[in-house]
Symmetry: C2
Subunit: 346 residues, 2 copies
Amino acid sequence: MRATFMFGAGDVRVIEVPDPRIEAPTDAVIRVVRGCICGSDLHPFHSMPASETGRHMGHEAIGVVEEIGSEVRTLTKGDFVIVPFGIQDNTCVFCREGFPTSCVHGSWLSGGQGEALRLAQADGTAVKVPGVDPDTADDALLASLLTLSDVYLTGWHAAHMGRVAPGKTVTVIGDGAVGLSAVLSAREKGAERIILMGRHASRTTLGREWGATDVVSARGAEGIAEVMELTGGEGSHVVLEAVGHMPAYEQSYGVVRPGGVISRVGVPQYEDAPVGFGSLFGKNVTLTGGPAPVRAYIEAAIPEVLEGRIEPGRVFDMTVGLDGVPAGYAAMDAREALKVMIDPRA
Amino acid sequence: MRATFMFGAGDVRVIEVPDPRIEAPTDAVIRVVRGCICGSDLHPFHSMPASETGRHMGHEAIGVVEEIGSEVRTLTKGDFVIVPFGIQDNTCVFCREGFPTSCVHGSWLSGGQGEALRLAQADGTAVKVPGVDPDTADDALLASLLTLSDVYLTGWHAAHMGRVAPGKTVTVIGDGAVGLSAVLSAREKGAERIILMGRHASRTTLGREWGATDVVSARGAEGIAEVMELTGGEGSHVVLEAVGHMPAYEQSYGVVRPGGVISRVGVPQYEDAPVGFGSLFGKNVTLTGGPAPVRAYIEAAIPEVLEGRIEPGRVFDMTVGLDGVPAGYAAMDAREALKVMIDPRA
């Protein structure tokens, strides 16, 4: 079968590989109905050292169960499932506490950008979507279900950890697919005001449709000043940081108000950052966030999508077949595409 | 009158100064009944550059209102009050949101280590203690009331921001007066297990009386390993960091469990610290805390003290008159005293 591998910075290829098979009794094999390219895939796309074996790409997928291991209890061949980017048993202490991304049997999904994938901890990871036939469902519905494997629920995680609630002013930093998902999530959680910091008109337009009340295109000190002016000099109760680079972190503590929360879901491309009296401590700012424990949120989100209350799949503005995956990476990297969906049978 | 000034590292003197007087209509003059030396006073005691004018010391006090400005409405001459270390109007937006330490009219108290002090924003800052005559009250009660100006409620702030609750495992880093106050606060909030990291037997003994279920005297990697073993390899739901130095921060993220909270009240003696994938982000750790908004907690704490449910004043193990203040600094610096109370009339 065909799958996407990255062999180094800028070097993405779709190659022929052996079909995935059951390796452990808790595995399943999933035929991929839709996969996609993640903003976080662009980090290795910029910096990965050359590798002969390559990295098996794709950590977001919806698909159909093709085969199950002997210990899989909750899935049956033919089930249509969402496969989140984090693998978990969904029973360990950290899973029960709501953080399956730290599961004691956890790992990260790979293979979502191919025809099929081997899924470890299948019972704990795959979530069945009731009443949907992926072969006849419309593309928009599939796109929205696909976002529950990562991007929409990563935005949701930001809002959840940031304790977004009615009456709050929320600033979202980043107009990528996660940032826009954070806007939608903040609206779902009843934020009073949502300021979106981003400079791509096509994206901020969707952000406004999803609930952004203000858009600030300036960055750095100028962007901070604009947000402070919009909030009457008080700053934002909650900042949802969906970028991961240091300037976004600096903007975060620049616009957060005393006692406020910075919730990060952009994977930090730094280890050390300011947290002392002059940044977080002096104004009692809370810093939170991390890899989204998507599995903990999927069940509640499925009816939101199936009943049409949210359409998070609108972040996809380009669809490719497997042949088009390298071009999809290039388009996202050039910001010509917001987020690229992959239909392996297209 | 006499007051304490610091003129440089290690140079604390009690000198004659003009009596405080009303300078703004919102001021009051407070006769100090008890003041004390704060662990945070030791930072300038180690590092303050020499100064001819000196720094007026003392940010914790209980006292009696001697004089009020023309706009003071809630205080009367003769009222016995607690004066927290943060000055606030207690009406601005940040005060209403629970963070009076960020009050738009805020500043920090000084003069608590003298015979009297000028209190700005007197209505917003001083809290009356009903039914107590400071001239006849016993020393233990005065000591406990004095802790509501800073140290006990700083420990409380750590526990509050850390969301300590029944069923939680809490690790307290630091066996100083704030750390011990954090232990007591964690017990008050129903923590299931409280691990105190500290190495001074006289202090950890009080920590055990106040609810510590385990004491770990080792530090660094060894201390982290002991806490991890005590928690079955899982780590602590909440870490209350009451030191402020980088090794304590490193211990904090070493012992916190996935999805846990590090709540800092030790004033950070660093600005940058690890917050990336390898420290906080990867395991969804929340970092919170800051200067305690003591004013927001005093009213609720007064009956706890008056009715004898808590005795936070037990952190004081040395009392001096004004002549003894320099020796009090030296004793705290040498860790011969846990916390030093000042009775200006002794």
